[in-house]
Amino acid sequence: MANTLLMALIVVLGVPAVMVGYVGLVEWLLGFLPERHRPGVRPWLWIGPAVLFLVVFLVYPALNTAGISLFNADSTRFVGLANYAYVFTAQDMLIAFKNNILWLVLFTLLTVTFGLIIAVLFDRVRYEAAAKALIFLPMAISFVAAGVIWKLMYDFKPAGLPQTGTVNALLTTAIPSFQPQAWLFNPSTNNPGLIAVGVWMWTGFCMVILSAGLKGIPTEILEAARVDGANEWQVFWRIILPMLSSTITVVATTMIINSLKAFDIIYVMTNGNYGTEVIANRMYKEMFNFHQFGRASAIAVILLLAIIPIMLKNIQDFRRQEALR
């Protein structure tokens, strides 16, 4: 009990105090430096803790992975680029690449668009917090539970039997001639079906961040436009959208990265069967099922390389924001 109390004190008071104490200490120490040296040293002390954490938990493991990708399954023999050759030719990987492109386009487009529409519309009603909570709710559900939810949604019983899946039951009731579908097995519906689950889960994320950005647009600017006779449609396209552009880039980048790393939903719902394989699930299988550490690492490196074009777009935005303010 005493231990629990001590821990509670550390958690609630100790940790924040250490954090604030760090920058306090940094600025106090900088005070001893001659004034002209301070601007050169200060940034490094402010980003220092972040760099330290990133190096230990992400940079070092990433370099380690890149190294392993050049070795065989148990990292005992150097094989050069053989793992990469395998990754780009294996049948399952080719299916995975194709599916990830579908994820990238559909998932990113739908989450960002819905997130934006919902953020803007919900901003205008008084029950905004409650309405946003309903969209956010799927994010708070563990992905295993989400898998259960969507198995209930997509469940299939042959035509003639009472349907237990929500989607089939709704459609067969609404359209008498509708044939119940095995949504997750049918190759033409299973990928969009899985992406729909992703959209359901992640739209709340886009909504929250875009809503934060929306609240940051100064009210005077919107009012001024309305006084000048702009209608709501023009206010949205001419003011809200341009002023949210850097936030939209952040959200879209995060969603693109999510689509490349898509794993949880596929893992619990189809495990990549029936033509739904994706890169990250393949990596998981190579690593934990087949113990092919070299191949798994090569896949991880390819994921890292795939986002370089998006990084370049970000740095462009970053510079533009700086030039504008």
Binding site: M19, A50, A62, I209, I307, M311
Partner: protein
């Protein structure tokens, strides 16, 4: 007196009809908003209803049949999930893990984002690109090298170790998001406070922090929720010791020990969802308009 009363009544009537007119003109908006909510809620309602139904019926009939007689509802699955030994302890453990794992990365990210947005130093853009690029590093690839390090330092199975791990994994997104919001603040604000003799420390705590409250609030919501729902990182770095196990680990043990009894999971999912939703609601008050009111030059 009668005239005053009728005037009052008329006034009330007028405001009522004005309100009615406004409500009608806003009608389509409300319909769309409520429709979106209904579509998003439908799947979860299915799970919620199922969590109150006997396990054998969940497998054989649709959840909506619960609303027709005979009304078969039970609290059995909630009783089972909540009475698991160690559930109370693991709730406290989840708090001890999640609160620092939210505070530490957000503070460290805020320091870094402030430097990235408002200080000049060589290699800044390249460093920032690397930070965002790290978002894509698959968590699974980091587990083995980091675990080796944790074992060497004796951090495995400690709260402190898992705080550090969640900080490392949460930082790239936190820095990325905060840099974007900090960078969007008007430059004049900084110039005027520096003219008044403020230090970067004062500018950070009294200007940047209060003006970025919606961004910080959304970060708190997400980081808390991710850590609260995390199973993988806890399993690997805490090693399944019951003394430090969070709720996710206890629940997954419960589901596995009952021989793949996923029905218990439906109840457990709603129990473990309560706190992230509470955090979401308590952060809503910070999503307010006009934080920057009066700070933009006209």
């Amino acid at each position: 007196m009668t005239t005053a009363a009728t005037a009052q009544a008329r006034e009330r009537e007028a405001s009522l009809s004005a309100r009615l007119a406004r409500a009608l003109s806003q009608g389509p908006l409300h319909v769309v908003v409520l429709l979106i909510c209904a579509v998003w809620l439908l799947p979860s309602v299915g799970l919620l209803v199922s969590s109150f139904r006997p396990a054998r019926l969940v497998a054989s009939t649709g959840w909506w049949t619960a609303f027709t007689p005979p009304f078969n509802f039970t609290l059995g699955m909630y009783r089972e999930a909540l009475s698991t030994s160690g559930m109370a302890q693991s709730f406290i453990n989840s708090l001890f893990i999640s609160i620092p794992s939210t505070v530490i990365p957000i503070m460290i990210a805020a320091f870094a984002a402030y430097a990235f947005a408002w200080m000049k130093f060589p290699g800044r853009d390249l460093l920032f690109v690397i930070v965002v690029g790290l978002l894509v590093v698959p968590l699974q690839m980091t587990l083995i090298p980091v675990l080796r390090l944790f074992n060497a330092l004796g951090l495995t199975g400690t709260f402190f170790g898992i705080w550090l791990a969640h900080t490392g994994y949460g930082l790239p997104f936190a820095i990325y998001l905060l840099r974007n919001f900090f960078g969007a603040l008007p430059k004049d604000l900084f110039e005027s406070v520096y003219l008044d003799g403020a230090s970067p420390l004062t500018a950070f705590f009294w200007l940047v922090f209060p003006l970025s409250v919606p961004a910080l609030a959304s970060l708190v919501i997400f980081q808390f929720m991710w850590v609260w729902n995390d199973l993988l990182v806890a399993l690997i770095y805490l090693g399944g010791t019951p003394k430090v196990a969070p709720m996710t680990v206890t629940i997954s043990n419960l589901v596995n020990s009952l021989g793949g009894n996923w029905q218990v999971l439906t109840a457990a999912a709603f129990v473990s969802m309560l706190l992230p939703m509470l955090v979401f609601f308590s952060m809503q008050q910070y999503f307010v308009r006009g934080i920057l009111a009066g700070s933009v030059k006209g």
